[in-house]
Symmetry: C2
Subunit: 203 residues, 2 copies
Amino acid sequence: MPKLGIKPLRRQQLIDATLRSISERGLQNTTIVSISRIAGMSSGIISHYFGGKKELIEATVSYLLDQLQQSLLERITEENPPSHIRLHLIVEANFTEFQRSILATKTWLSFWAMSMHDPAMARLQSINSNRLYSNLLFSFKELLDPESAANAAKQTAAMIDGFWLRSALSENAEQEFIAAELLCKKFINDVIKQEISNASNQI
Amino acid sequence: MPKLGIKPLRRQQLIDATLRSISERGLQNTTIVSISRIAGMSSGIISHYFGGKKELIEATVSYLLDQLQQSLLERITEENPPSHIRLHLIVEANFTEFQRSILATKTWLSFWAMSMHDPAMARLQSINSNRLYSNLLFSFKELLDPESAANAAKQTAAMIDGFWLRSALSENAEQEFIAAELLCKKFINDVIKQEISNASNQI
DNA sequence: TGTTTTTAATTGAACGTTCAATCAATAACA
DNA sequence: TGTTATTGATTGAACGTTCAATTAAAAACA
């Protein structure tokens, strides 16, 4: 009998090792050997559990996407929070402790660059990008007229991604992430305030 | 004697070829051979004019930074435009025809990813990031109080980078870039409008 | 002007290195 | 013992760099 449940364990161990390798050496210098050494296993194990290096990288990115999705779901378990709270929760999910980790940041950046010439990566990237927009749009629509909501959702999504990028590349990333989260929330509050006052003026 | 003043010409030809190679195959698949073939020269030429591949990549990124800077300067040749116009010009500079080109977008993305584990690239990246923020801050300060100006400048910089990133990765990049430019300008207008009405309420 | 000399630009084969993938051998387990 | 998990040496392709040889343009000369 094969060891029970060892396959998902090994796969997760190798994904963790991949994140560490990329955060330490960058994607370009991450090799089959560097990953397997961090995982404390041999180089052949990667082909055995993932078929090849490419599939392991893809699985690692999928893992990051799942983590991001889960960090949002964890926050909305409460019974339907009001829209403006929900918007803040979306922001928070994108600036989680985990999202800020060097493990994650370096991998996200490499992943974005890869998306430009790797169809499989581009597909994952597109799903994630649309998900953020859709989540924001859903909540904004309960507060603003459709066109304003669409604009606000696009602007917020861009601001989140932009702040995330600038923070990740900054020298004192941790402080920048904290400030970024606050400024994203401030933007959301201001948009809602402004649009509501605009609407009341028009009546 | 061989052709005089050919050095700057060849260097630019190789930089152009590097942009094309990265846009076609991605940075990972860009090799000395792929670049020199696009340039119509031999592989040895790169070491001769740049010392090595690394220096050529750095020169290519510097070229992109210069183009970005120049596209802004070209717009502000007029005698001191008013602050809100200047802010729009900054946005426009970041969404130039050239910035939208596949040649540039793929290289920028690879460059960001490289910055995380290449000190020379990180330095270039930091300069560029600060420059955008400083330019925005300068103009916002003429319209808003210092704290509001700093917040607005950070938010605008993030929104520009974020929109740029999302547009570059999008399937119909061209349309997205156009919409992005408009939404960045709209944000700037709204911030100014809102802060001014806030200030008048406080009096 | 026509010829020769000088000079640097350019080539591309060869070299050493690095990497992902493979697979026969071994270890761990049931 | 038989089955699966794991190892790690080996392979061959791909890469950046180097450099002796070649090419062609400019300079010097007559």
